[in-house]
């Protein structure tokens, strides 16, 4: 597991109140099926922006970006996040 993925799981665990442990969730599992809501995505975004000192661009603020641990990890990598 990459450092970025660990950070994603940390953000989900602290900010998203999922129905399953964010540390144990499958990387491709649908987070919206695990209780993630649009409201929670805002706090997850804020946590990840602070953690990696970057800003999610407007075009990245879609449901698909937040759909799984993997999609968030890939987004952060594409934004140049460094673990």
């Amino acid at each position: 597991m990459t450092g970025i993925e660990t950070a994603v799981r940390d953000a989900l665990a602290s900010r998203a109140r999922l129905s399953t442990d964010a540390k144990a969730i499958g990387a491709e599992d649908d987070l919206f099926d695990r209780g993630l809501t649009s409201l929670m995505t805002v706090d997850v975004m804020l946590a990840l922006e602070a953690r990696f000192d970057l800003e999610f661009p407007e075009e990245a603020l879609t449901r698909n970006s937040f759909r799984s641990v993997a999609s968030l990890r890939d987004l952060l990598v594409s934004l140049g996040a460094a673990a």
Partner: protein, 407 residues
């Protein structure tokens, strides 16, 4: 049937995509709804005549695409029907809106699964009415929590389908529906937010009524409390999780259809207030310029045109249930359609009452506005606007509001 130009034009633009003509017409069922509206309200009974007329005219299955055996109506077509029916009877309009929102969930999320697709074909053929069972005792009104879960049948039970028991606080027209779409946890060991929707056909469930529906308005929706006891096979659970269905389809489609029916109720109130003002003026022999009540008619119309513009914009941004476009509609915009239109339409009817004066305040006569006001007071309360606005506020730090898209 006439309708204010704004909505009619917006809908014409939305519908101009060349779909096959829909069976029947809405004018007949709308007239039936209007003819029975007073009795439905007074007796607090289901608008059976209006729903039968909609069934007869083939309007209940209108959102089912041709590929699934339906007429392939658009969401704008469904909105137009809700508007027209609610103009005659708010309760009937609400029943129709809730039915269509459930049908939209099936259409958008049935995928290739045989069971929901067969149900949709049958629903079109027989005009089946579909009700929603998302409410439940003990979840604090939170759509995204469920307590009930499927329990496996006993090993020696000849019927091996799972048992489902749900204590619902409200099932609108539950006693009058042919089928239910019921949210439940995925499995007995699943978390409360890990929900799926079960499609229960006419022979799959029994209802035990546990509470009534004695309300100020929307008295015909009969949104009573029931215990649902069902048997269902695994194939009756939709494969898409309820979290995605709620966000992508159920909530936006519901808000869009509600907006249409609320504007319909207010449009009839405006007709009544105009008639009352005109009648008084005719008696007094005065001029329309500066006539009492007319500024209030203008104020009401201003609010309704604003509400229609929001609805037309939402239809344009959302597209059709299940489309890629629909999945990316901003939740804040979905929320704001509901909060803004519910208050604009209620306020418009208040303006109509001031314009109509005593003729509107009377509960009898052709200009009575009591039912319209009582029905529309459900709009800001049904899912409280304060709660929705708190959610919208949080979302303000998410995606940037999409302004400047007015063409």
């Amino acid at each position: 049937m006439t309708s204010p130009g704004g909505l009619a034009e917006a809908i014409a633009a939305e519908s101009a995509s060349g779909t096959a003509p829909l069976p029947g017409a809405i004018e007949g069922p709308a007239a039936v709804a209007a003819a029975h509206a007073e009795a439905v309200d007074r007796e607090g009974r289901f608008p059976a005549e209006a729903i039968a007329a909609l069934r007869q005219a083939g309007r209940l299955g209108m959102l089912v695409p041709a590929a699934m055996g339906g007429p392939g109506g658009t969401l704008a077509d469904a909105v137009r029907d809700c508007f027209a029916v609610a103009r005659g009877c708010g309760s009937a309009g609400m029943v129709l809106a809730m039915h269509h929102s459930q049908m939209a969930c099936l259409v958008a999320h049935a995928g290739d699964a045989a069971w929901p697709r067969e149900y949709l074909a049958r629903a079109v053929r027989d005009g089946l009415l579909l009700a929603s069972v998302t409410s439940e005792e003990g979840v604090g009104g939170n759509l995204r929590r469920s307590l009930c879960a499927p329990e496996p049948a006993a090993a020696d039970d000849p019927d091996q389908r799972a048992h489902l028991v749900k204590r619902a606080t409200n099932i609108s027209y539950g006693a009058h529906a042919s089928a239910l779409l019921l949210s439940a946890r995925r499995a007995p060991d699943a978390a409360e937010a890990d929900q799926v929707l079960w499609l229960l056909g006419p022979d799959d469930y029994r209802l035990e009524r546990t509470g009534g529906w004695e309300t100020m308005g929307m008295r015909g929706t009969r949104s009573e409390a029931f215990v649902v006891r069902a048997r269902a096979g695994a194939e009756q659970a939709l494969s898409t999780g309820f979290g995605s269905i709620a966000t992508e389809t159920m909530t936006p489609v519901t808000h869009i259809l509600w907006a249409g029916l609320w504007i319909g109720i207010a449009a009839d109130a405006l007709d009544r207030a105009r008639a009352a003002v005109k009648g008084k003026l005719r008696k007094s022999g005065g001029s329309a310029a500066g006539a009492p009540g007319t500024p209030r008619l203008a104020a009401a119309t201003e609010r309704l045109l604003a509400a229609e513009a929001l609805l037309a914009s939402a239809l344009r941004r959302y597209g059709e249930p299940g489309s890629a476009q629909s999945r990316e509609m901003r939740p804040a915009e979905v929320n704001m359609l509901k909060t803004a239109v519910s208050e604009a339409t209620l306020d418009a009817v208040g303006q109509c009452l001031i314009a109509a004066g005593l003729a509107g305040y009377r509960v009898d006569g052709a200009h009575a506005l009591s039912r319209h006001l009582r029905d529309l007071w459900s709009a800001p309360l049904m899912v409280p606007n304060d709660a929705i606005r708190a959610a919208s506020a949080t979302l303000m730090l998410g995606p940037r509001p999409q302004l400047g898209r007015f063409l």
